[in-house]
């Protein structure tokens, strides 16, 4: 009898536990998905996309970046970096977009799940596995997060290109709205859009794919030129760069090139963030 009571008590306990589980499966409050409102921010968010000509999913990344550019306009500066992984040109490719600098940037940004993967302001977002995010659908949301608030820095770029000599002169001015201090570094890229060449896709090779935002050169140190530890509104910093653009040969079309410059704050080897970016065309 005691054993029967014991079994009944234990069975009752089980029923209570199961009831708790089922009882907890009540309807929950719905989650509101806010409509997108174009940001009112002076911040320019840097997107560095790791991509490659042999990456079959990368055309989807390219489409998403074009959508982001349309959606956020001058609030984003986009760079497509063709590093070695899945970056080899196709058999019918005219160009090889890979470079030593691209691979160094790939290594610097850390591990990533696969391509395409995009680093948004080089920030390690809470809940993300890696700095370069492979979930293409989440890129817009991360950009919107970064535009939530003004920039601490003011970045201006002046570009002078001589079509005859192909000489490019770039001046970057960095000023703070108040005080910014830390390990600050300035990086300057040359990007080019509108390059037509082969690209692997989910449906095979696209012979006349249009490659946009492609990183063509790094004018600064790959890991950024070191800036003064403290920048204030009254102590701006200027850096000048010279670059001889190669002869136009299907690519290196100056009209399609942009200068992308950005300042990164390095808190540690794992913790860094782009404070501000600027993107200007080589030919206005």
């Amino acid at each position: 009898m005691n054993e029967k009571i014991l079994i009944m008590n234990r069975t009752g306990l089980i029923c209570v536990l199961f009831a708790m589980f089922f009882f907890s499966a009540c309807e929950e409050e719905g989650v509101t998905i806010p409509d997108f409102v174009p940001p009112d921010s002076d911040r320019v968010v840097l997107i560095e996309e790791l991509t490659g000509a042999s990456c079959p999913n990368c055309p989807a990344g390219g489409s998403e970046l074009q959508s982001i550019k349309n959606r956020f306009g001058e609030n984003v500066a986009i760079v497509a970096i063709h590093s070695n992984f899945l970056g080899a040109p196709r058999d019918n490719s005219k160009y090889d977009f890979r470079s030593q600098e691209a691979q160094e940037i790939d290594n610097f940004l850390g591990l990533y799940l696969g391509k395409p993967a995009a680093s948004i302001n080089r920030k390690m977002f809470s809940g993300e596995q890696y700095r370069a995010i492979a979930n293409v659908g989440s890129w817009s949301g991360r950009v919107a997060e970064q535009l939530d608030g003004p920039s601490e820095l003011v970045l201006e770029a002046e570009v002078d290109f001589d079509p005859g000599s192909r000489n490019l002169e770039v001046e970057i001015d960095v000023a703070a709205k108040a005080v910014v201090e830390g390990d600050l570094r300035l990086t300057v890229y040359v990007t080019e859009s509108g390059i037509v060449d082969a690209q692997l896709s989910q449906d095979g090779v696209i012979d006349d794919y249009v490659h946009n935002f492609t990183m063509r050169a790094v004018l600064s140190d790959v890991f950024g030129d070191v800036l003064p530890q403290i920048i204030t509104s009254e102590s701006s910093v200027s850096r000048q760069y010279s670059f001889e653009m190669p002869t136009e040969d299907g690519w290196w079309v100056a009209e399609n090139c942009h200068i992308v410059a950005f300042v990164t704050l390095h808190r540690s080897s794992d913790d860094m963030e782009v404070l501000q970016a600027v993107e200007v065309p080589v030919i206005n």
């Binding site: 589980f21 929950e28 409509d35 999913n57 990533y112 989440s138």
Partner: protein, 534 residues
């Protein structure tokens, strides 16, 4: 509701027991661009990598304590194309039995049924370690019935994911009849996952930018529930396992779903919302030299993760059983189908027959399609083995495969890989301690890398030494030159210690454990491994 269990457990130091094990692997990378072992940090700059796991267990005073130190230096395990560095306590736990109650706190490994709704496990080859960091209670209702409950967060390397997981399972044992009993082992389980704010914000921030048409119906919920009912019936020579699982509707990522890019075009890869189901059954018969196993599985939208936007092997709460044969020979195991969590029909039949002590035969057939009936994988294998006294054993077999490489390896546009692979193995025992094993395999295919041959010679001096040399040769290549991939290794066993040193050239391929697979790049270099138990 809070559970408080008070007990007056006196600590009696009757002499504790300390035991554990070490597994350590070191890689010395040698760049070889001809086979594709290049252009990643290990081959270009680092040249050295190491992984190690040191496990310590201690039992005393009625408690079990355990901890494990994990170390990864320039490791390829987390990401085969990158370099992972970290170290720390990979696991710790405390366990105590109090009458019929077992309490465990810390990093917990467990599963419900076959793991369809929950499995926390470790698989080092793929660096899968999704232990639950939390509390587990197991209570014996009587000798035949046990209830388990657990709650916690899933481990992520040396951190954890934010979502909260809780589960409850009831397992039993019922015998009907005495002379020829039928034995039932029924079970029921339920698992719930509550998203953390970061995961939900990530979903919301993704859906914000979908067009209204693509977003329609995709209202995310914090809570998802998965239920499973299962039973094993054993009667005489028959054993029948059946499991059915259902998951409540939730947001998931479908890599094949299309959505608008907002520019008039379409992008592949989209969040969807759907409920999920799995039905799995396995029927076995074993008697008089016969062993027959029939398995069937249907999976529909059963991706269950700590964060629905995670991909590949990350954040998986459950484990879907694989439905292809676990092959052991190098070439017959080259193409392995990864489990498709969003949809597949799978069937497998395995027949073994041993008419006497000398002969044994095996036939295997497996077939996997998507839910539309498109073939994803098919395998047919027959094998015969003859054992001559204790002197030698000869095995011959042939395998036929059809493998959707486009789907399983993410290589769009490539054709279905069709292979025919005859193989043979001969094991000869010179003495009870000395033996020689020879293997020969030939894979004939016009797809992927083309045809291969493989030879292995392995000499064992039991119990201490194993010397082996093998070569895999791309005899009829379609993508590269005719390349040789040699491997030589020495294994030394002494008591509880095992040392191995290998020189390896390995072609890129798929590494799978169960149905969980990952594409691995080529490997070139030396590998030294130690396994020690103490």
């Amino acid at each position: 509701m809070t559970f408080i269990w008070n007990t007056e457990a006196t600590a009696q130091g009757d002499g504790g027991r300390l035991f554990g094990n070490l597994e350590a692997n070191t890689n010395f990378y040698m760049r070889d661009s001809a086979i594709g072992a290049a252009d990643i940090p290990q081959y270009d700059n680092q040249l050295f990598g190491a992984d190690a796991w040191l496990t310590l267990n201690y039992s005393n005073w009625g408690f079990d304590f355990g901890m494990r130190f994990d170390m990864f230096n320039n490791s390829q395990l987390l990401n085969p194309t990158g370099s992972y560095n970290d170290h720390g306590i990979g696991r710790w736990f405390v366990r105590r039995n109090i009458d019929d109650l077992t309490i465990t706190a810390g990093y917990i490994y467990d599963q419900i049924g076959t793991g369809v709704i929950f499995r926390a496990y470790e698989e080092r080859a793929l660096l899968i370690d999704n232990a639950l960091i939390g509390v587990r209670l197991a209570y014996d209702l009587n000798d035949n019935w046990r209830v388990r409950a657990f709650t916690g967060k899933q481990k992520r390397q040396f951190s954890h994911y934010g979502s909260v997981i809780r589960g409850l399972a009831l397992d039993g044992f019922v015998q009907v009849g005495d002379e020829r009993p039928a034995i039932f082992a029924p079970g029921f389980g339920v698992v719930a996952r509550t998203l953390d704010d970061d995961s939900m914000n990530g979903i919301v921030n993704t859906l914000r930018f979908y067009t209204p048409e693509d977003r329609d119906g995709l209202d995310p919920k914090f809570n998802t529930y998965a239920f499973s009912v299962y039973n094993t019936l054993t009667y005489g020579p028959f054993s029948w396992y059946v499991e059915g699982a259902y998951k409540s509707p939730e947001i998931m990522f479908d890599p094949l779903a299309m959505r608008s890019d907002g520019l008039g075009g379409k992008i592949q890869g989209s969040l969807i919302k759907s409920s999920g189901s799995v039905f799995y059954t396995s029927l076995s018969y074993s008697r008089s030299g016969w062993g027959i196993t029939l398995e069937g599985k249907r999976t529909d939208n059963f991706s269950f993760r700590t964060d629905p936007q995670l991909e590949l092997n990350f954040g998986q709460i459950n484990f879907l059983p694989p439905m292809s044969r676990q092959n052991t020979y190098r070439l017959t195991s080259r193409y392995v189908p990864a489990t498709q969590e969003l949809g597949e029909y799978a069937f497998q039949a395995d027949v073994r027959y041993s008419p006497n002590r000398q002969w044994s035969f095996n036939g295997n057939f497996s077939n996997i399609t998507n839910l539309d009936g498109d073939l994803l994988y098919r395998e047919m294998l027959v094998e015969a083995r003859y054992r001559y006294q204790r002197e030698w054993v000869a095995t011959v077999g042939i395998q036929r495969q059809e493998y959707d490489q486009d789907l399983f390896e993410g290589k769009p546009g490539v054709p279905m890989v069709n292979t025919i692979t005859p193989y043979a193995e001969f094991l000869y025992r010179f003495t009870p301690r000395n033996s020689l094993k020879l293997e020969a395999q030939y894979m004939s295919t016009d797809e992927d890398f083309g045809s291969w041959i493989f030879f292995l010679a392995e000499y064992s001096v039991s119990p201490r030494w194993i010397f082996s040399a093998s070569a895999m040769y791309n005899i009829d290549p379609t993508m590269t030159d005719k390349l040789l991939y040699p491997t030589m290794s020495v294994v030394y066993n002494t008591g509880a210690n095992r040392f191995s040193l290998s020189y390896i050239k390995q072609v890129e391929g798929v590494v799978c454990t169960g149905g969980i697979c990952r594409l691995e790049p080529a490997f070139s270099g030396m590998r030294f491994s130690v396994i020690s138990n103490f």
